[in-house]
Symmetry: C2
Subunit: 342 residues, 2 copies
């Protein structure tokens, strides 16, 4: 306990996607504990796509960090030393202190993992922001009923792989979308999806149609782009879209915003015609109303084996930048985490 | 009472817009009253843009009519003869018997105008489907609160001119969009809009922004297209869109569906980012739940002078086809009606 590695933002991404070269690792002393605060030692980091907003120049989804500052993000660790009345050395906590070995905290946004989390990393996977987003999508934004068909945009994503399992336990036919045959196989065999369609196939739209013989009632959209274009014609009367992400954007740069995809005209037409509801997901909006209920339900689902979190673990803080870039290139299989220490 | 003129569908529109040449007038005998039915004499017809669905080859909004059949649509008239227990000669009724001088009815979808309608034509303007759509848009799909800014897509349209007045009486800043300076002036001077922006101006988007210094909270979208494109950047957090029509479509033909406008990518981005809700309007869906309440409220608003229906009257059944085409070319100033007889 002498060196503190810190992953700082060295430059902003040129176009949305934070590539590994945007970050730099700096070494320095472990910060000294100050009165009323605590020192936390990082064990796990969560690689959330939504953190992209933090490295932009401006964003109205979250406050961007400054250049040379430590990259923020959800983390899990142990309290090493404490002068804070609510925490003691040895407590396992989650927080938002970000990509560094050690951090001083005044307790703000820090949470003791005392709600029965089965293992520490689950605080970031099964109970993290992505899984919570999946829960909100299927309970609040676009709730399905048993027997309906639910399509999940990124079957192996941090949000998608949980969404598929929640839809399944609610008695739905669940059809995933993923970018390779291998991922599709994982979705069906490991996660229990009824079907999964490869969006890299030339016949993607046709294959999706065949996988949804009764049309689509709920679409958990994590990508926009060609997945949305392929789902729109299949949407049933009174269908629902939970807009949870636009992961297709980085792959096409600015072109994505200029006529590559369906225009709003055809989308609005179908929206009226088929009484489609569309609601966007910003997880922060739902913390107060739904986080406690989510923890309770998710704990029961995991304990009973109905939900199996899939974790995709990269070792070493020094690998966080490339592990993060991977998420935008869909290289993850389940929730991407970085293991910093035991 | 010897000749019955009937406007029949002679050919289907080539592309969405039912032009006047799609119709033909036929003369024939007044139909004979049959047992249990009634004979109605038409006095007013309503030229609703939503009737476009009835002349398409296929539609899932409404059942299309067959070639050579009488064009259907909302009508008002007097019962001339009756063998129906619920109606007697002289009753003023509204129904859907369509574009002809006389019709036999078995009473289905026929309604006596006994709910206090101030004058017969109001059954089709102030209390008709367009006005009801405006009411549903602002009470159910996208309700504003006092002090918010409401933008109305077609300020002088059958739906738009009522929507603007409802938003105004709810204490909102109301900004209309129309296609000429003369229409904009009417919207402000006759209908009480706070401002109205001409979408034919080169500076349309900039002018709209200046007319909405606090952004846009509710958009009653009747056109899609460039109005929607101009409104999207102005939408506030938690704003609402009532998708009530796509009148921009006919002006651009198929091109409207292929990249002319913003793509779904940018729209979904803003939808998530600013928590925008979008709900489509199909008036039939709301008849059972809200029609009676609408009649009560609208009657009070008209009696107190808070809503002034604007009627745009064309004389003569023979002019119905061109009066109908006008609506798709935005030539109407308020609710377009055809006066068939006194």
């Amino acid at each position: 306990m002498s060196n503190n590695r810190r992953v700082i933002l060295a430059e902003r991404p040129r176009y949305i996607v934070p590539t590994a070269n945007c970050f730099r690792i700096e070494n320095g002393p472990v910060p000294e504990l100050t009165a009323g605060n605590l020192l936390v030692r990082t064990t796990w980091l969560s690689m959330d796509a939504s953190l992209y907003a933090r490295v932009q120049r401006v964003s109205n989804q979250a406050e961007p960090i400054k250049l040379k500052e430590v990259m923020v993000g959800p983390a899990v660790g142990f309290v090493e030393q404490s002068q804070h009345p609510d925490f003691k050395a040895g407590d396992l906590v989650s927080g938002f202190w970000g990509w560094q070995d050690y951090a001083i905290s005044n307790g703000t946004r820090l949470r003791k993992l005392d709600f029965g989390v089965q293992k520490p990393s689950y605080a970031l996977s099964a109970y993290g922001a992505s899984a919570f987003g999946a829960y909100i999508a299927l309970t609040t934004l676009a709730p399905p009923v048993a027997g309906e068909t639910v399509v999940v945009g990124t079957a192996l994503g941090g949000l998608g792989h949980i969404a598929g399992q929640i839809a399944k336990l609610k008695g739905c036919r669940v059809v995933g979308i993923a970018g390779s045959a291998e991922k599709c196989q994982l979705a069906v065999e490991k996660l229990g999806f009824d079907a999964c369609v490869n969006h890299s196939d030339e016949d993607f739209a046709k294959n999706l149609m065949q996988a949804c013989p009764k049309g689509v009632d709920v679409f958990v959209d994590t990508t926009g782009g060609k997945a949305l274009d392929a789902v729109i014609p299949l949407l049933n009367l009174n269908s629902r879209i939970a807009a949870c992400g636009l992961m297709a954007t980085p792959h096409f740069g600015e072109a994505a915003f200029k006529g590559k995809y369906q225009s709003t005209m055809s989308f609005m037409y179908e929206l009226i015609n088929r009484r489609i509801s569309v609601r966007g997901l910003v997880v922060f909006d739902h913390l107060r109303s739904s986080l406690a209920q989510f923890h309770t339900e998710m704990k029961a689902w995991i304990d009973s084996g109905k939900v199996k979190p899939m974790e995709d673990i990269v070792n070493g803080l020094q690998n966080a930048p490339s592990a993060f870039q991977d998420v935008f290139e869909s290289r993850n299989r389940g929730k991407r985490l970085v293991k910093v220490a035991d």
